[in-house]
């Protein structure tokens, strides 16, 4: 496998993307190692898709360095693209063609011989559980099925690197879990995954390591667990108050935990011991409508780092 100076599949230094006067990606650094599953977590507009498009060699780098599979996207675009798989944010399937035809023609784009395509298409249809629908047109398929077909299509060239831009956005929970299962299997086979998401549960499920992006920059980097340890407490006490009450609580929440966040609809108390904080709140005479003690998540990390929720 070709390697960049650092031995990584993707190597970015001061990577920047500008559209006219607007800076979509602002001098970010990151490396993705072979076999790793790497995520870009951030809200819409953070620059995740622009970064992915540069890696996929369909968007020229404005400034900085980018090496993909040890090659320069500007000079070696077609050679890089021959070895990566892309699952774009929006499906680009041919609605008039059948499931099988969509896979087969995509294999032709990579100049694969027809017998090879035939064999791979059968394997991929099994892998994404669409074998029974192979002769059906794509248009009437459910969103989850189309997404699985897009993933199968991205694997037709047996890529060294798979890029997934918001792979499960807009899918129902069942379809998401099925997709996660398939992606997890790919990861276990050693396929390097790079994905963007604004779902923290997706990042927690799939990513060995991730960067949090906000406003075109990387604001934190690490494994999901490291990020939670570094930027949040072990537990979170959530309290929801009757309408109008939360505004009257000035001063009464101070010192309940290491940190208190007041969201429009609830109060979050960051603490090592959520039960104890809840008891303390009760002792202070607070009477929330609802209380919940949970473990910290990447959502809390994001809130801490940016002062905003991920999904608004």
């Amino acid at each position: 496998m070709a390697a960049s100076p650092s031995g990584s599949l993707i190597h970015a230094r001061a990577l920047t993307k500008r559209f006219g006067g607007f800076t979509a990606v602002d001098a970010i650094d990151f490396d993705v190692a072979p076999g790793e599953s790497f995520g870009f977590l951030g809200p819409n507009g953070a620059g995740k898709t622009s970064t992915m498009r540069m890696i996929a060699c369909v968007s020229p780098v404005s400034a900085g360095t980018l090496r993909v599979l040890g090659m320069d996207p500007l000079a070696d675009g077609p050679r890089i693209r021959a070895r990566i798989g892309v699952v774009p944010q929006q499906d680009t399937l041919d609605m008039e063609l059948t499931v099988r035809e969509n896979l087969a023609i995509y294999g032709r784009y990579f100049d694969l011989p027809r017998p090879v395509i035939r064999q791979r298409v059968d394997e991929l249809l099994d892998f994404v559980q669409l074998a029974e629908r192979s002769g059906d047109r794509v248009e009437p398929l459910s969103g989850g099925m189309k997404r699985r077909l897009t993933i199968a299509r991205s694997l037709v060239n047996e890529p060294d690197l798979l890029l997934l831009d918001e792979p499960t956005t807009g899918l129902d929970p069942q379809a998401r879990h099925l997709l996660w299962d398939r992606l997890y299997r790919l990861k276990q086979r050693g396929v390097t995954l790079v994905l963007t998401t604004h779902y923290m549960d997706e990042a927690e499920q799939l990513c060995d390591r991730l960067v949090v992006m906000d406003k075109a920059q990387i604001v934190a980097e690490g494994s999901p667990r490291q990020l939670v340890e570094r930027y949040s407490t072990r537990e979170v006490l959530e309290m929801r108050f009757p309408v109008g009450v939360q505004e009257t609580l000035d001063g009464q929440l101070d010192g309940l935990g290491d940190r208190v966040e007041r969201l429009p609809d609830r109060v979050l108390v960051y603490t090592a011991d959520g039960e104890a904080a809840g008891a303390e709140a009760y002792a202070r005479g607070l009477r929330p409508e609802m209380t919940l003690v949970r473990r910290s998540s990447l959502e809390d990390v994001f809130l801490r780092l940016t002062g905003r929720s991920l999904v608004e």
Binding site: F19, V58, P78, A82, D91, T92, D94, E96, I105, D111
Partner: protein
Amino acid sequence: MAAPAARVLEHELLVYRRVWRGSVFSSFLSPVLFLAAMGLGLGSLVDANAAGGGGASGSAAALTGFSYLAFLAPGLLASNAMQTAAGESTFPVMAGIVWVKSFHGMIATPIRPADVVVGKLAYVALRLLLVSAAFFVVTVLFGAVTGPTAVLAVPAALLTGLAFAAPIAAFSATQKDANGFNALFRFGVIPLFLFSGTFFPVAQLPALLQPLAYVTPLWHGVDLCRSLALGTAEPAMTLVHLAYLGTMTAVGVAAALVTFRRRLVR
């Protein structure tokens, strides 16, 4: 054709196999209906008038001595090529870029935007060849063909079509939605169809409008097809037509290479 562009062509033909039925009316039946209604129906009036010595500007003289059917058929051949080309280079290009995004799917592979342009135009060329050959067979059955060299009108129609397909595809790749296409058809394709010599010689237009008609690209296509079909082609004028249509094609391809790239690679 380079391998990646051939793959794009392969894709277009695969999709065409699914949707060809819908295109039979617009690109084959419609010109045949025009040929029947105008060539036979209206033509019988025109020819009777010509035979009766119809006035100073005699129709027979204007039609250079051929039946109206024989005059009309190559005109329809050329304008049908233009309409087929316009149809294939507008909405399907918008589909590839915006609606279905199949072009985006292509350029995520070793295929480049230039390959998309070449493959797409190769497909349009095959479509043009198909509809022009089919229509030519119909004109033979109608008895509108004068001799074997008339078959040269088919490649002439292909060139006429490409002279429209390439620049229109370049234009389509700059459009956000299909609104611009309505204007293109209303103010471009339909007036050209009506006033570029398809149905009557441009010499019949008011003197003021004639130069305008002679610079329209369709007139060059119509006159090229007609002179080849009727065996009246003169070398000099034929070269002018070929140069004009060839230049339009080349400029259109060059423009499409730029606009497709700008649109797909951002």
